[in-house]
């Protein structure tokens, strides 16, 4: 294996691993950076697939047996153009996402959000059940008087928990409605422009 091939291999490995790491992020900007790195890694890989380097593949300049393989370079050129166009499109999507929601996060899908909401609710009820058991224990151990105060605290905690869930649901719903309303989005654009 020649030195160039090893250098290419190391570069490909570094680019692809960094690219994969960044693509797994939440922020779309980082994903774009990941796509660029991964794309470059794959392009280098195709170049490496073309075999050992050679002279310029032009008749009359290089003798035929010493020519490099031109086909991988042509393919890489096409792939570069495609990646460029996609990065431009993704950047505009980041801008639009920021206009609509204030960040560039890739959201969970609907099913995931439903599952998360249910899990949160169950966890809240689990906490309340634990608290109830604790209050009962106090009542049994130290008599009603001490239990009454604990019970009052428990009721307050349940109220607080309910309020918190409701607040979170409403905030999520409002964010959704706002994001789905193109008129509002256009307003924020104009605000930004005047600022």
């Amino acid at each position: 294996m020649s030195g160039t091939a090893v250098a290419l291999l190391v570069a490909i490995a570094a680019l692809v691993s960094c690219g994969v790491f960044l693509i797994l992020e939440r922020s779309l900007t980082r994903i774009i950076l990941g796509v660029i790195l991964l794309g470059n890694g794959v392009n280098l890989f195709i170049l490496a697939a073309g075999g050992p380097p050679g002279g310029a593949p032009l008749l009359g300049v290089t003798p035929v047996p010493q020519m490099g393989d031109p086909l991988p370079q042509v393919m890489v050129l096409t792939a570069i153009v495609i990646t460029l166009a996609l990065v431009a499109f993704l950047l505009s999507l980041v801008h639009r996402g920021r206009q609509l929601t204030g960040d560039d996060e890739v959201r969970d899908d609907e099913e995931d959000r439903r599952v998360i909401a249910r899990a949160e609710r169950e966890m809240a009820w689990g906490r309340i059940a634990e608290e109830t058991a604790r209050v009962r224990r106090i009542e049994a151990e130290r008599g009603r008087r001490a239990g009454r105060r604990a019970r009052r605290e428990l009721r307050a905690a349940v109220r607080e928990e309910r309020r918190e869930i409701r607040r979170r649901l409403r905030a999520e719903w409002e964010r959704q409605m706002a994001a789905d309303d193109p008129d509002r989005a256009i307003d924020t654009t104009m605000e930004e422009d005047t600022r």
Binding site: L86, F89, A179, D181
Partner: protein
Amino acid sequence: MSNALVPLPVVLPLFAAGIKLAIGPRLARTQRGITVGVLALIVVIAAVLVHQTDAHGPQTMRPGGWPVPIAVVLVVDRLSALILLISSVITLAVVVYAIGQGSADKDEATPLAVFHPAYLALVAGVSDAFVAGDLFNLYVGFEILLTASYVLITLGGTGARVRAGMTYIVVSLVSSMIFLIAVGLCYAATGTLTMAQLAGRLDALPDGVRLILQLTLLVAFGIKAAVFPLSAWLPDSYPTTPAPVTAVFAGLLTKVGVYAMIRIQTLLFPGDRLGTLLLVAAALTMLIGVLGAVAQTDIKRMLSFTLVSHIGYMVFGVGLATVAGLAGAIFYVAHHITVQTTLFLVTGLIERRGGSTSLTRLGGLARVAPALAVLFFVPAMNLAGIPPLSGFLGKLGLIQAGIAAGTAGAYAMVGVALLTSLLTLYAICWVWNRAFWGERRQVPEPGQVIEGRRGIGGTAITAAVPPPAMTGPAWALVAFATAFTVAAGPMVDYTRRAAAELLARAPYIAAVLPS
């Protein structure tokens, strides 16, 4: 044998898209004429190609007249000709529907300036993937159709579409990268990308290398075809787009992935190695898809899950790797493209008439709009596989192929396929009961703005009786799907010949590489 018709399904829509981008939103009537005219011309070309490939074998075209390993060769055989014909018919119907919707929404500038060019580019990409005789050209075809689909899925830039678009685009990008890696691997291993040459050279490779190549390609196409466990992106991203876009995505894009799977499994990696893996993936796709469908309360989401589920039927046929299995898969592709597109178009009509696609809000539509009820009922029963419709024939073909294969795995698949079909019927009946039967619930007054739904350009949709320009294409597609039943005999024979041609490999290779 060189045929000048082969590149036209790619060249014509690209050319038309270029003209449209140049003139922008002006000359509305001429522009609509160009779009419809070009797509109608492709239907004719595809029909001629079906006839020619059936009579004279695979048709090829070498652009620039270069000899084969240098030229980026285009090939149409029976399989690609048939799928090209079906896809061109539905793209034509969908664009007529979209034009109808644009004029119903009084929203014509955005569709003309953005929707039409992107749509034509999508058609060009789909056609390119079907006629590609070269692995890198297949990649380019995928990229053209994906890039166009990125524009279409975020059309209008509303919040829901941008959110769904992000997931869709990131997933598609990853699948493209995997495909590109596979292309590089194939080139490194064999020194060619022309599929007819690959077919010979791959056979000579060591077993392990072939397995890596096959698996990488299958993963890339599995993401595009939405085969479980690579299907999670689909049901979330499709329902937010406007009705015509969802319809063409659901009908075509996943089938391009299935087509690519059929192509590599027959031409590049013959024999049924990995057949068991495909059968297991098919069974899981069917079951998990349909269980998801049963749990939905929105028609669009329910249909997206059945879409995933029924991809399993086609993968089942591919996994069997027999003539009967592949013939069943090809018939099923043709049937499913048509029926899934029709159902999404009809859902767009339901949304317009009933004010929603949520099953908690719709009710009693059969009395309000009996024609719409028929329009939903026929393709829905077709999807579930009620005789004598084409869904029944497609499932029958696959199940017969499974029983003929006779292995334990194939028998298990037959059971899963029957169960899936039953559960699909359950999901469809539930939609029918909730939305069309029962007491009449709030049907919005004509002119009332429908909340949370957006038209092609992101403008609000108002409730109305859908105009004939929208119902017409839906009726035409229902009639087209019914024609499959009428012409079932010749069509099944054709798919058998196509499958035999695929498994023989020699006709394809001989057409590309005349010795």
